[in-house]
């Protein structure tokens, strides 16, 4: 969203579920029906995003709503910074928790500015401070306050409304945010952008966030921690996304995260995270014989010609090197795609496959060569470091 100075006062809080169960009594559900949430225990450290993911009916939204007590648990406790939410004053509790839902729930009769300042108004902030805060937050989520403050929600696009929803939830600087499919109602392109912007925002905000989605890809992308839930409100697995992809705890988790979880893991690693191999480089005009001797000793027998700033020019095959002449830039073949260090392995693989080549050249911000990444390197990353359960389910998935 923008790189405004960030407006943060409250430190983040921890959230802990202790044996939380929710059953609906016979009035609301069929008698003997399964619990909505069954003995859920998990702890979210301060400042982290924990994603609750699972199929519909797995109790993820119910779990979320028990934190701000829109739903009361049948048994168990939920602690925020060690304090049982049941012991807190209801309105006070809720005013200190940001709440974002899929349909956004903006107030249609209020301007965007008034919507954003909702909780500050409940808290009795003076008008001028509310207005400043609203403008600050609109800028933070990438909406120009001058253009948007006086508009009504009906005049905004879906993506803009979602941004306003996030701004409103942040208004009173709550230590905790509850987000229920917050980017679920917009098209995939806008969703990706909102996700990226929110992650960038969170780097500064460092709120403790409980995030609900049914989309595994979103869970992996957004979560520092992912809680996979299954129907009946059971917690199937809880851990960092890489761990869940590498070692699914059960067949349900393996199936839920998908047969392509090897591929999904690639989106968790960035090109710069790997130990990149160094290409053998030379500059135009260098001695050809010496260069050929260097590549002949290497398992990857190609020479990368680079310019004076180490920017790649192209490849020379050992057979194309004329030992009698100096190295010639015109003979170099510039086929390899250039990869950014911040790119995910998934995107890098996609570029390599599109270009139909085995290796890409990794460059820094200035375009200088920093290393070489091959399809084999990426394939090696897809193979799980952890052993048995992964191998077994990977075999099943094929």
């Amino acid at each position: 969203m923008s790189d405004q100075p960030v407006v943060r006062g409250h430190p983040a809080a921890t959230i802990e579920f202790q044996h939380v169960t929710k059953r609906y009594d016979r009035v609301a559900a069929s008698p003997g029906g399964p619990a909505a949430v069954e003995d859920l225990s998990l702890a979210v450290p301060a400042g982290r995003i924990c994603v609750l993911v699972g199929p519909s009916g797995c109790g993820k939204t119910t779990s979320l709503k028990m934190v701000n007590r829109l739903i009361e648990p049948t048994s168990g406790r939920i602690l925020i910074d060690g304090v049982d939410v049941a012991s807190r004053d209801l309105t006070d509790l809720r005013r200190n928790i940001g709440y974002v839902i899929q349909q956004v729930g903006l107030f249609p009769h209020q301007t965007i500015e008034e919507n954003v300042a909702t909780v500050p108004r409940l808290l009795g902030w003076p008008t001028e401070r509310r207005r400043e805060r609203a403008a600050e937050l609109l800028a933070l989520v990438g909406l120009d306050p001058g253009a948007y403050a006086r508009r009504y929600p009906a005049q905004l696009s879906g993506g803009e409304r979602q941004r306003v929803g996030v701004a409103r939830a942040l208004a009173a600087d709550p230590p905790i945010m509850l987000m229920d499919e917050p980017f679920g109602a917009v098209d995939p392109i806008v969703r990706t952008r909102l996700q990226d912007e929110f992650l960038r925002l969170q780097e500064d905000l460092a709120k403790t966030i409980l995030f609900v989605t049914h989309d595994v890809d979103e869970a992996i992308k957004m979560g520092d921690l992912v809680a996979v839930m299954q129907v009946g409100g059971h917690l199937a697995q809880f851990g960092p996304p890489a761990e869940i992809l590498a070692a699914p705890a059960s067949e349900f988790v393996a199936r839920f995260v998908g047969a392509d979880r090897g591929l999904k893991r690639l989106s968790l690693t960035r090109v710069g995270d790997l130990d990149l191999r160094s290409p053998i480089t030379a500059r135009p005009g260098d001695d050809a014989l010496a260069a050929r001797a260097r590549i002949q000793a290497d398992p990857f027998p190609y020479l990368l010609l680079v310019d004076a700033e180490a920017r790649p020019i192209g490849w020379l095959d050992q057979d194309e090197i004329d030992p009698a002449a100096a190295l010639d830039a015109a003979a170099a073949i510039p086929t390899s795609p250039l990869l950014d260090r911040r790119m995910t392995l998934k995107d890098a693989l996609s570029l390599l496959l599109d270009a139909g080549v085995q290796a890409g050249i990794v460059v820094d911000r200035h375009g200088a060569t920093v290393g070489l990444l091959t399809v084999d390197d990426i394939a090696a990353q897809m193979r799980a470091p952890a052993g048995a359960p992964d191998e077994a389910s990977a075999g099943e998935a094929r």
Binding site: L70, R94, Y99, G105, P108, H109, Q110, V119, R151, L178
Partner: protein, 212 residues
């Protein structure tokens, strides 16, 4: 036809018009207050909806003359009698519209209001009633027009505003008075309706924003 009667009695006509407006305003004002309370009760507990609409619906179906005939022995030929009748007829329309208005509040709006820490009363006054306003105004327009017409009937129990003018006109075959009373009533209805539309638009700028 003695058209000269109209300019000669302009003072009486103005007085009757003011009476008519006052009778209507009291009826709609009191009706709105009662309907609001009933609607909020229904909003709190849905089970009240059936009984409330049954009673207000019953009141609505009683012919006005029969209602006045029933009330006169108790409350006499009085303003109170007239207003009890008039108020009764507004309730069904107003309750139905206020409840429909409160029902029109989207569930996600209600959920976020709760989630952000609105109390029940804050949610009602600051969120639900404002959003219900277009439908409440729609009900108010119907109730007001109906009441302007019904005030005529209260001429039979000594009230009636412009109804009095028309009633006397009929009795004395003074057709100019009859036409004047009818025309002013019609004009009053149109003006008040337009006024309510205007007030409604002013109060809900956001509803117009939707179509932009």
């Amino acid at each position: 036809m003695n058209w000269a009667w109209i300019p000669a009695n302009i003072g009486a006509l103005i007085e009757a018009t003011i009476d008519h407006i006052v009778l209507t305003a009291i009826a709609v004002g009191v009706g709105l207050a009662i309907a609001m309370v009933l609607s909020i009760v229904i909003h709190r507990d849905r089970r009240a909806y059936g009984p409330v609409t049954a009673v207000t619906g019953l009141l609505y179906t009683i012919p006005s003359l029969a209602l006045f005939a029933f009330l006169v022995p108790i409350t006499g030929l009085s303003l109170l009698t007239a207003e009890i009748g008039l108020v009764s007829y507004t309730l069904l329309i107003l309750v139905r519209n206020i409840v429909a208005g409160l029902d029109s509040v989207p569930a996600d709006v209600r959920e976020t209001a709760d989630g952000m820490g609105y109390t029940w009363g804050q949610r009602l006054w600051r969120v639900e009633l404002p959003i219900a306003l277009p439908l409440i105004v729609a009900g108010l327009r119907i109730a007001t027009i109906t009441t302007i017409g019904l005030v005529m009937v209260t001429a039979l129990i000594g009230e009636g505003g412009l109804g009095q003018v028309m009633l006397r006109g009929f009795n004395f075959r003074n057709w100019a008075a009859v036409y004047a009373g009818a025309a002013i009533t019609l004009a009053l209805g149109i003006v008040v309706d337009l006024l309510l539309v205007w007030i409604g638009r002013r109060a809900t700028p956001w509803a117009a924003a939707r179509t932009r």
